[in-house]
């Protein structure tokens, strides 16, 4: 007993440092392991402790990624797939059972978050997914099977510059959307000539109001923090002067030219249009280094069969197309796959709705979701995280009620932690004003106590999606002796999941190579696709007949191939599918 105490004291400084944010120690934030009673569905004693009720800056994200990879060396590797404009790494975690077969021979699933700088929580949800998979391997059968069969490629933030800028520079909850390349928004030839000014030096860009008898606004009687417009024929006490700032470049407008103001989600190589047609586009597809890193990785990993990107907000599970022009390219079979997945998403994610981007939200040219689907043939969803529904589990039809809800939520559940109270300020251009309003960490991102819940639900949706990437098996092999030394070998290759090896768009544009089904052993005299086994409808492949090329193995479907072989005793069939992985069978 005494001995243990001494050891603990000795280790204390080290433990203290390691647990500053999260730790590898067996102590879970001060409680010892034997004091924990497991809650269903959550790892109780993970190797890596992470709090899921707060946000991490780029350094924190880096640290969590490192710790996960170090703690789970047989399941995770960490690499940088490129550098951001300011030189931060774009981290990528590869998560799978690294010992059973090469990850490139397994169907892959891509997850990223935070493409828009202010939409930070996608990063935590991606990290939660990585953590959950790693900490449950060997403990939960579903997760164990998933990592044996599939590989996850997780890039927690694909806009690390913007992420840190959002957190450490004066911003609203909506800024910046882009990365940090300074661009000229006003056309005066000066880039970023008039950014926000954090007048009261609190790190948040809130509202400016000024008392005036000519005003159109007054304080809401129920909650004086909230400004409401007066009715027709009424005079208020305040005028609103916009977001905190001043006219720094003296062009007659406040905050007219901040950093960035391009949109990294208008920079992708499908149906790309320039800024004057699609506001926010940069010079050409993948001109932004962060997106180029993702593009290079995805092109180099044709095994990626499904993808999830995280944005905020609004509680949406979005699929493409981003524009009406591509509606004709969304095939019936692809729509069915999305519907099967999306409709379960509706159920797993209360307050979220499964929607079509261009129809239900707005039109986007050059969006990431469209490049993944139409450019690479990958089934992809974008989730718009967080919704006002989560305040009180109510949908708001009424604008007034919707306007009140965040104030009520902040007052009764956050105890006014999310609001900067109105305070007087002497403005160089407006004179005596007041500054106040919601902080940048409220409104679009989850309040702490809701983050883990939504992380888990969103993750569950992506795991369902990943589970349904193609799962190929050599279902049946039939060897018939045809006499004269000839054998007829017939193999049935089945896909036991919803997603086909080749999406409809992939087939129509020949994006990915066909599946190769190869027979080794013996001399192949002829090879063929069996289109109907019972009625003997056969299509011969005249060249390279030992490797039968199959355009697609449909979801929940199968294909049949046949060879006429001379000689050989032992045979091997290998199914090599870009998105369906590689499987072999000896017989």
């Amino acid at each position: 007993m005494k001995c243990i105490n001494i050891k603990k004291i000795y280790l204390l400084p080290l433990v203290f440092i390691m647990t500053a944010a999260f730790s590898l120690s067996s102590d879970a934030f001060g409680q010892s392991v034997d004091q924990i009673y497991k809650a269903a569905g959550t790892p109780a004693t993970p190797k890596v402790e992470v709090h899921w009720n707060r946000y991490y800056d780029f350094g924190g994200v880096t640290e969590i990624c490192r710790k996960l990879a170090e703690a789970h060396p047989s399941l995770a590797t960490l690499e940088s797939i490129g550098e951001s404009y300011e030189g931060r790494e774009i981290w990528l975690l590869t998560i799978t059972n690294l010992d059973n077969k090469p990850h490139r021979e397994k169907p892959g699933f891509w997850i990223d978050g935070n493409i828009h700088a202010n939409e930070i929580q996608g990063t935590e949800i991606a990290l939660y997914t990585a953590w959950y998979l790693l900490e449950n391997y060997g403990k939960n059968e579903f997760i164990t099977n998933l990592l044996d069969e599939k590989v996850f490629y997780i890039a927690p933030t694909i806009n690390p510059d913007g992420r840190d800028n959002h957190m450490y520079e004066p911003n609203t909850g909506s800024s910046p959307r882009s990365g940090t390349i300074p661009l000229d928004d006003t056309g005066d030839g000066v880039a970023a000539g008039d950014p926000y000014d954090d007048l009261n030096d609190d790190g948040h860009i809130t509202q400016m109001r000024r008392r005036t008898p000519l005003g159109q606004y007054r304080e809401c009687p129920e909650d004086p923090r909230r400004m409401v417009r007066v009715g027709p024929g009424e005079r208020g006490e305040f005028e609103l002067l916009g977001l905190e700032g001043k006219d720094s470049n003296l062009d007659g407008r406040v905050n007219s030219d901040g950093i960035g103001r391009y949109d990294p989600n208008r920079d992708w190589g499908w149906n790309w249009q320039p800024d004057h047609i699609q506001r926010g586009a940069y010079h050409y597809p993948f001109a932004l280094p962060e997106n180029r890193a993702v593009r290079d990785f995805v092109v180099a990993h044709p095994n990626i069969a499904g993808a999830q990107t995280y944005h905020n907000m609004g509680g949406m599970i979005l699929r493409g197309p981003g524009t009406s022009e591509d509606e004709q390219n969304m095939t019936f079979s692809d729509r069915n796959v999305y519907d099967a997945l999306g409709e379960l998403g509706d159920k797993l994610l209360p307050g979220y709705r499964y929607l079509v981007l261009f129809e239900d939200l707005y039109s986007v040219y050059g969006g990431q979701i469209d490049w993944f689907h139409f450019g690479r043939g990958i089934y992809t969803f974008t989730n718009e995280l967080f919704t006002r529904y989560l305040y009180f589990y109510e949908q708001y039809e009424d604008r007034e009620e919707a306007g009140k809800a965040p104030y009520q939520f902040d007052k009764h559940l956050l105890f006014e932690d999310a609001f900067v109270p109105w305070e007087e300020y002497d403005h160089p251009q407006f004179g005596k004003i007041e500054i106040g309003g919601f902080k940048k960490n409220f409104g679009r991102v989850h309040p702490g106590f809701l983050l883990e819940t939504d992380a888990h639900r969103n993750m569950a949706f992506t795991l369902f999606h990943a589970y349904h990437t193609p799962q190929l098996e050599i279902h049946e092999v039939d060897v018939k002796d045809k006499g004269g030394g000839l054998k007829e070998i017939t193999a049935v290759i089945a896909n036991s999941r919803i997603i086909p090896t080749h999406s409809g768009i992939d087939l129509s544009r020949n994006i990915e190579r066909p599946n190769y089904i190869a027979l080794e052993g013996g001399e192949v005299l002829a090879g063929m696709r069996v289109l109907n086994r019972d009625l003997n409808v056969i299509e011969e492949q005249k060249t390279d007949s030992d490797v039968i090329e199959i355009d697609n193995i449909p979801g929940m479907g199968h294909v049949i191939v046949r060879w006429i072989v001379e000689g050989g005793r032992g045979y091997t069939i290998e199914v090599d599918s870009a998105k369906g992985g590689v499987v072999r069978k000896d017989f």
Binding site: L183, D184, T186, G187, D188, G189, N249, L250, D251, G252, G269, W270, W272, Q273, P274, D275, H276, I277, H283, Y284, P285, F286, A287, V299, W371, G375, R509, N510, I511, E512, R513, P514, K542, T543, E549
Partner: protein, 543 residues
């Protein structure tokens, strides 16, 4: 192994075969010679020219940029002169190179000297050097794809499996015709050297199949679809990008070559016009206005306000060149010419620089080829047609297979003696174009004293050039810098009325925009107006 031996055979045969020096390609400048000549220019005119390489291609060749002008160039109206846009058109490279040589050799001339000190030229002579190398290769064919090793057009992950094969060993890839009762080609009724499709209406019966010269190594139906060079510079730009078509690339601007020039040009705010020597033509014939194409969110036709500029420039072009250099097309999918206008927002001009004089024919089929052969006879050109000659073809052992046809390149690139004249014309045209550049001046400056130290300043921001300050389309384009007027009073002066910063929409040539300010207090006021593409003008006014 088989491929290797075929290649060796081709090299050996080609090096002995007279056609390998087919009209000499003598004169045309290969990449090495081009590099030497550019380096020589930069060495000879260090004050006027600087050479840089924007990047290296997958084939390991430099993408050259020669910047021409005296002193700092970035605040001076500039013209980008681009050659090698279509690699089967090496004359484009010659025109760009010869322009650079001529302007520098004439730099002592007064008008040239004036241009070199007030404007700038960015010369990109060879935008697709990997593909252009095929023109100088022992095995010659009209190649436009670079060395990027993308999957073949069938995307079956088997790389470069089916290059051309030189069946008759003449160092060229021409055509192959196979006698076949099911074929739908016939020799042209007016010139039987030329193969055309049989006409159903004329009740002609086809008796040939026509394919590119080669061996279908993997026995697919598509002959020779796989070529070692894969992405065409002139199909890889963002405007009207032909996704998932041969030689278009993985996506728009996917290639080293396209990114290199796009990155440079987006950074070069001073470029007001782009002149390409490539297949498109809006110089012998200006683009026509089409209201429907010019309206809506997705603009696909020249805007009305830009039409007169194109007409003016086209008139000047035809005046100088004699109007004989007409091309055939006004733009193609994913090309550089249309990108420079529709997405880059600058005035964009293009010409092939040379073309075969057209003749009229009773039978419209094969018109260009007929014109070419007629012209080649008049000019006594040799070795431009490979007579049909029977070969043994491994895929058609019992059939009559002949190889022949018009030699590669010759229809788009004349013998070198024709290049000199057209290069001189285009040099003169580019000088005239530079003289038409937009120039911002501050004119008609007036100060009025209104009493009590209150002054009204009026000035006209004038474009004294011929071109408008920006294209009409450029008014919408974020990357096009409009004219900015900065008004800077001294600290103790009060600006009572008027703008400190004003961004002006396009100012037509020879016209102006009036600005006025009210200032209280004496001292010096500074007014600066302009943009990189018009030059800046600055004045001080003492009150």
């Amino acid at each position: 192994m088989q491929k290797f031996s075929v290649c060796v055979a081709v090299v050996i045969i080609a090096s002995f075969f007279p056609f390998s020096c087919i009209y000499g390609q003598s004169g045309y400048t290969d990449h090495n010679d081009l590099s030497v000549r550019l380096q020589d220019l930069a060495g000879e005119y260090p004050e006027l020219a600087s050479l840089e390489t924007l990047d290296q291609t997958d084939g390991g060749k430099e993408i050259w940029l020669l910047s021409i002008g005296e002193g700092e160039l970035e605040n001076r109206p500039a013209i980008a002169v681009v050659g090698g846009i279509s690699a089967d058109h090496p004359i484009g490279t010659e025109l760009a190179l010869l322009f650079a040589e001529k302007i520098l050799k004439n730099s002592e001339r007064e008008d040239v000297n004036e241009l070199l000190s007030r404007s700038a030229f960015y010369v990109f002579p060879d935008m697709n050097p990997d593909a252009r190398a095929q023109f100088f290769d022992p095995l010659r064919y009209e190649r436009t794809g670079n060395d990027y090793p993308v999957e073949s057009v069938e995307r079956d992950s088997r790389l470069g499996e089916d290059p051309y094969t030189d069946l008759n060993g003449d160092g060229m890839i021409t055509l192959m015709r196979i006698e076949d009762p099911a074929g739908d080609w016939i020799p042209h009724p007016e010139d039987e050297r030329v193969m055309v499709r049989a006409s159903y209406e004329k009740r002609e019966t086809g008796n040939y199949k026509v394919l590119a010269e080669g061996v279908d190594k993997d026995l697919y139906d598509l002959f020779n679809m796989h070529r070692e060079g894969m992405v065409d510079f002139n199909r890889n730009f963002t405007f009207d990008y032909p996704a998932f078509t041969p030689r278009a690339g993985e996506h728009a601007v996917s290639e080293t070559e396209t990114r290199a020039i796009a990155d440079f040009l987006f950074g070069a705010k001073n470029v007001f016009a782009v002149v390409g020597f490539g297949p498109a033509d809006n110089l012998s014939e200006p683009l026509a206005y089409n209201e429907r194409a010019a309206s809506g969110r997705m603009v696909t036709g020249i805007l009305e306000g830009d039409v007169p500029v194109n007409r003016l420039v086209s008139n000047k072009y035809n005046e100088i060149t004699g109007g004989e250099n007409g091309g055939r097309i006004s733009g193609s999918e994913g090309d550089f010419f249309q990108w420079a206008y529709f997405h880059y927002g600058r005035f964009s001009f293009s010409t092939p620089g040379w073309h075969v004089p057209q003749i009229s024919s009773q039978d419209e089929r094969g018109g260009e080829q007929l014109s070419f052969l007629r012209w080649a006879e008049e000019e006594d050109l040799e070795n431009v047609f490979v007579p049909w000659q029977q070969v043994d073809h491994p895929d058609y052992p019992d059939r009559k297979v002949e190889v022949g046809g018009i030699a590669p390149f010759v229809m788009k690139n004349p013998p070198y003696r024709f290049v000199e004249k057209t290069a001189g014309d285009h040099y003169r045209f580019l000088l005239e174009l530079a003289k038409m550049r937009p120039v911002i001046d501050i004119t008609n400056v007036k100060t009025e004293s209104l009493g009590s130290d209150l002054h009204r300043i009026t000035a006209e921001i004038t474009n004294t050039g011929t071109f408008p300050t920006v294209t009409e389309l450029g008014e919408r384009v974020r990357w096009v810098q409009k004219t900015v007027v900065n008004f800077d009073p001294e600290n103790d002066q009060e600006l009572v009325s008027g703008k400190r910063i004003e961004v002006l929409d396009r100012i037509e040539g020879k016209s102006g925009y009036e600005c006025s300010w009210l200032v209280r207090g004496s001292g010096t006021v500074n007014i600066r107006a302009g943009a990189e593409s018009t030059g800046f003008k600055q004045i001080d006014i003492n009150l």
